[in-house]
């Protein structure tokens, strides 16, 4: 659609939009990512919000970013370093420059580089004037004044005019990557339907940015990123939190049960509760409890009364839920506890990612209190693992912890929409009127007791947190019985291993190095291992989603590799857990506690080192 001077073909590109919280960078990034997905690229995105809601304007603390990675290949991460950085003010440049590739392109809004803004950002001199940016391809655009100029006769007030300036940069970037404007134009028309002036203004500025980029000499070339080979189907973009909410709803539908969610808001898990709250049309009951304890307790009550019950939280909230989680173990009621991990301990880094709640999830309860733990690994597979958590909980009559993390919860990617009929039916062992019901009598395969739901005639019974007599479920303090019941509780979780898939390795069945990861580090580990495999390195990846119990073939897999390195965003919790189960294997570690995901670069470096060490 445009005349290119010089076109550079690229396999993949990373763009980071950044600006003040009010600059509309999330919207700009989402628009670019949607357009690229529609164009046929594979895409992964990650928003980077400031921790404070209203951080002072123009400061580094108030910078909001949105990174997207799109390509001709399969894309697994939002990318480590950006090819293009859009910085709407000095603070955005200051905080994001370290994420730009050497000789990358930087587009700045020159108008915002005033003395005052430079000072707020902590610059002593104007970086646009000295040679600090000499190694980059710097594109200075007077975005504010060009937007003003473009809309001076639009009839919009100054404030509304300034709000359009993100469209100018979006237009510029669209031209750089040869993307059509149509999707964003439609989006603008829909979004501002009630305000025709705003529609016209935004569209005009979008076009002006596009034309500006076309006209100026500053852009010597364009990139072209061909569509990826993507499996046929209908797609949508989805964030991890939304996928989690939908996966839980899908499990309820396939189990033919009503969904109840009792939760207390906490970053970065809140969107799950919010998403479920919207879905009254599908009969979802959400209960915003007075605290996390009440969140899980209302869910346990709902489970007792026959709903598929869930509670959603993040690390500190999981800590509050532990006593009640024990009650769910004791009473063998189905329940899903979603923990969207964030940086800890305590309030820690609420908006940042980490995987340091693993041992809390596996062990963090009073008494011997085992419950299955599973983890999602990408934004879109949160759907699948939320569904799985529900399936395991309902089929095995047990609470299940689903771990996600801030990185995949907020990240988004295109997702091939499944048909509900493709998902397995979930059959919970519900006791019926007329059944011979004994509260703690068990079926053989899973050792699960049956669920006699209040309201069912003739099955009145009592349950509770006191130790149960094996079988009849009455209170028992008999020493031998406690041993028996403890063994059963342990066995019940072990038996879940018969109902989950085996571990699949990416790469050769035998190699020098086996990379081991779990949960949200999947994208980075996969990318790093794939790149090394392309370089013919002897390396494979075993990524875990089923944590407790582990897939049955785990020992066998570990045994086939010379070296095993466990990579995780904590101080080595999974490694420690594996060591306790597989004493003969030597587990190397790669760990990071910065509130940030791994970078592919650092992983490759570490793996290369391990490959070289004899």
């Amino acid at each position: 659609m445009s005349q290119k001077t010089k076109v550079i073909e690229r396999e993949e590109v990373v763009i980071r939009f950044s600006g003040d919280s009010g600059d509309g960078m999330q919207l700009t990034g989402t628009q670019f990512s949607d357009t690229s997905a529609l164009f046929g690229n594979d895409v992964a995105t990650f928003p980077d919000y400031p921790a404070e809601i209203r951080a002072p304007q123009g400061t580094v603390g108030g910078v909001s970013g949105f990174q997207l990675h799109f390509g001709h290949q399969e894309i697994y991460t939002p990318g480590d370093y950006a090819d293009v950085l859009v910085a709407m003010n000095p603070a955005a440049l200051k905080s994001n420059l370290k994420w730009v590739k050497p000789s990358g392109t930087i587009i700045v809004n020159e108008d915002s580089f005033t003395d005052k803004n430079l000072e707020k950002a902590g610059y002593e001199s104007d970086p646009l004037l000295d040679d600090k940016l000499a190694d980059y391809n710097l594109i200075k655009a007077k975005v504010t004044s060009l937007t003003r100029e473009c809309l001076k006769d639009s009839g919009l007030d100054q404030k509304s005019i300034l709000r359009c300036k993100n469209m100018f940069t979006l237009g510029m970037v669209y031209w750089m990557f040869d993307r059509p404007l149509a999707h964003s134009e439609e989006f603008i028309e829909k979004k501002f339907k009630k305000y025709p002036l705003v529609v016209d203004g935004n569209k005009k500025v979008l076009k002006a940015g596009y034309n500006f980029a076309k006209t100026i000499e500053a852009l010597p070339y364009n990139y072209s990123v061909a569509p990826a080979k993507i499996r046929k189907g209908t797609y949508r973009n989805i964030t991890g939190n939304k996928a989690t909410a939908w996966g839980l709803m899908a499990a309820a539908e396939r189990a033919n049960l009503e969904l109840f969610c009792g939760s207390y808001p906490i970053t970065p898990a809140t969107e799950i509760l919010q998403e479920l709250a919207v879905r009254k049309d599908l009969g979802v009951k959400t209960f915003q409890a007075e605290d996390e304890i009440a969140g899980i307790c209302t869910a346990i009550g709902a489970s007792f009364a026959g709903d598929f019950a869930v509670t959603t939280t993040s690390g500190p909230g999981l800590a509050l839920k532990t006593e009640a989680a024990g009650l769910a173990v004791m009473t063998e009621l189905p329940l899903v506890i979603v923990n969207v991990q964030r940086g800890g301990p305590s309030t820690g880094l609420p908006t940042k990612t980490e995987q340091a709640d693993l041992l809390q999830a596996i062990h963090g309860r009073s008494g011997e209190c085992p419950m299955p733990v599973i983890a999602a690994s990408t934004p879109s597979d949160c759907f699948h693992y939320a569904f799985e958590a529900g399936r395991i909980a309902l089929e095995h009559m047990t609470p299940v912890i689903l771990l996600t993390d801030g990185f995949i919860a907020n990240g988004a990617e295109p997702w091939r929409i499944p048909a509900m009929s493709d998902l397995p039916e979930i059959i919970a062992p519900i006791a019926k009127e007329g059944d011979d019901f004994i509260p703690y009598a068990r079926e053989d395969k899973r050792l699960s007791r049956r669920w006699a739901i209040p309201g069912t005639k003739g099955l009145e019974h009592r349950i509770g947190g006191l130790e149960k007599m094996d079988g009849d479920g009455t209170v028992s303090y008999v020493p031998e019985n406690h041993q028996v019941m403890s063994n059963i509780r342990k066995k019940r979780v072990e038996l879940v291993a018969n109902n989950i898939p085996e571990l699949k390795v990416k790469g050769n069945d035998e190699a020098d190095v086996l990379v081991v990861g779990w949960g949200g580090t999947y994208g980075h580990l996969t990318t790093a291992v794939r790149e090394l495999q392309k370089e013919e390195k002897s390396i494979s990846l075993a990524h875990f989603n089923y944590i407790f119990p582990l897939p049955k073939n785990t020992t066998e897999v570990f045994g086939r590799y010379k070296k095993v390195i466990v990579c995780e965003l904590n101080d080595g919790q999974f490694a420690e857990y594996l060591r306790s189960s597989f004493q003969d294997i030597k587990f190397e570690q790669h760990n990071k506690l910065m509130g940030l995901p791994f970078t592919v670069v650092e992983l490759k470096e570490r793996f290369n080192q391990l490959l070289e060490d004899k």
Binding site: E258, K280, E290
Partner: protein, 346 residues
């Protein structure tokens, strides 16, 4: 089931016995909890719910052993959280008749937060609060309702804490139903439990309960044969607030806004001067004054103190879901998955 009326197949009249479970009762002999259990079973036999529709949900404490002795669906949960668990159960199945059992420590100390929020939300359930002004199960520590100065194992020199008056807490949390009874009065307790159950919304029944072991006689003035008639004011809606052995004492409103105990036919006071109880008024002022009366200055108010019509949380929840279902185009997960921005790759 010997008492079942066999010739009336559809209306199987239940008796108190039908609600008795086979579990051995572990309460101390003489504990007030026995009486409350009898009263509740008696009330249930009179009520119209099917047996399988009762869910009796308790926390932890002597009192919270209650569900084990009931032949209904029962859940003995964890300390303090029963109000939350009962809330969830009611939301899951609004047809259930949820009875929530708590002690004064369970409901007002560790579970204080859940208690006030359950009341505020007005979830349709009956909370029976066993107030023995002590921690029974843990063997005698002061509770949030123990009087200042009370000597217990953890207040060997006398408690220095102000007690809660549970009714004040409930009224502060927008309570719509509050009744009070005593463990020894089976009839009155059964009657107020029935009234509580009939009320739509969170109903609280505070039962003054005697712990014979750790706080014997805490409510003696109100319960002892010799004094009780002088210290019990059994309220009835639309009836004058009269009490006393001779039925000659009454309450009037003093000029300072405080209730005053008067003797009818003394100082020219007639029965017509005595206040008439209005349980249904929304204004909580009089209910506050009545429920705050303490012996020996005043008689203790018993019966239904407050019973104000309201819509319960669960009714509103069900209604909202129905309303949204009616107007939404999303009827199934497939609809939702394919809604909004999607694109096809072929």
């Amino acid at each position: 089931m010997a008492d079942t009326v066999l010739n009336a197949p559809n209306i199987k009249k239940l008796s108190a016995k039908d609600f008795r479970s086979d579990q051995e009762n572990r309460w101390c002999p003489g504990c007030g909890d026995h009486g409350i259990l009898n009263s509740v079973q008696k009330a249930m036999a009179e009520m119209e719910y099917k047996k399988e529709d009762y869910a009796v949900i308790s926390g932890i404490g002597c009192s919270s052993r209650f569900p084990y002795y009931m032949d209904t669906y029962g859940f003995h949960t964890i300390h303090g959280r029963a109000a939350a668990i009962a809330s969830g159960a009611k939301c899951a199945n609004p047809n259930l008749e949820v009875i929530q059992i708590s002690g004064d420590g369970d409901a007002l100390a560790i579970g204080g937060n859940h208690f006030i929020h359950a009341v505020r939300r007005n979830i349709d359930m009956t909370i029976i609060l066993f107030n023995n002004e002590i921690y029974g199960l843990t063997k005698g520590q002061y509770s949030p309702t123990s009087n200042q100065g009370m000597v217990t194992k953890t207040s060997p020199f006398g408690s220095i804490e102000e007690p809660f008056r549970p009714a004040q807490l409930a009224l502060g949390a927008q309570s719509k139903f509050y009744a009070r009874s005593i463990d020894t009065s089976i009839k009155l307790t059964a009657a107020v439990v029935q009234a509580a159950s009939a009320h739509k919304g969170t109903s609280i029944v505070e039962v003054l309960q005697n712990c014979v072991i750790y706080n014997d006689g805490a409510h003696a003035l109100v319960t002892d044969k010799a004094t009780k008639e002088e210290y019990q004011l059994i309220l009835e809606h639309d009836k004058p607030m009269i009490f006393g052995k001779e039925r000659n004492k009454g309450l009037i409103m003093g000029s300072n806004g405080k209730l005053v105990v008067v003797t009818i036919s003394e100082h020219g006071i007639t029965e017509g001067d005595v206040l008439v109880h209005d349980a249904h008024t929304e204004d909580p002022h009089m209910h506050w004054l009545l429920s705050s009366m303490l012996a020996p200055e005043y008689p203790v108010a018993l019966g239904v103190i407050r019973d104000v019509d309201s819509t319960s949380y669960d009714e509103k929840m069900v209604q909202q879901i129905e309303d949204i279902k009616a107007i939404s185009s999303i009827k199934s997960m497939d609809d939702l998955l394919n809604s909004g921005d999607t694109w096809v790759v072929d």
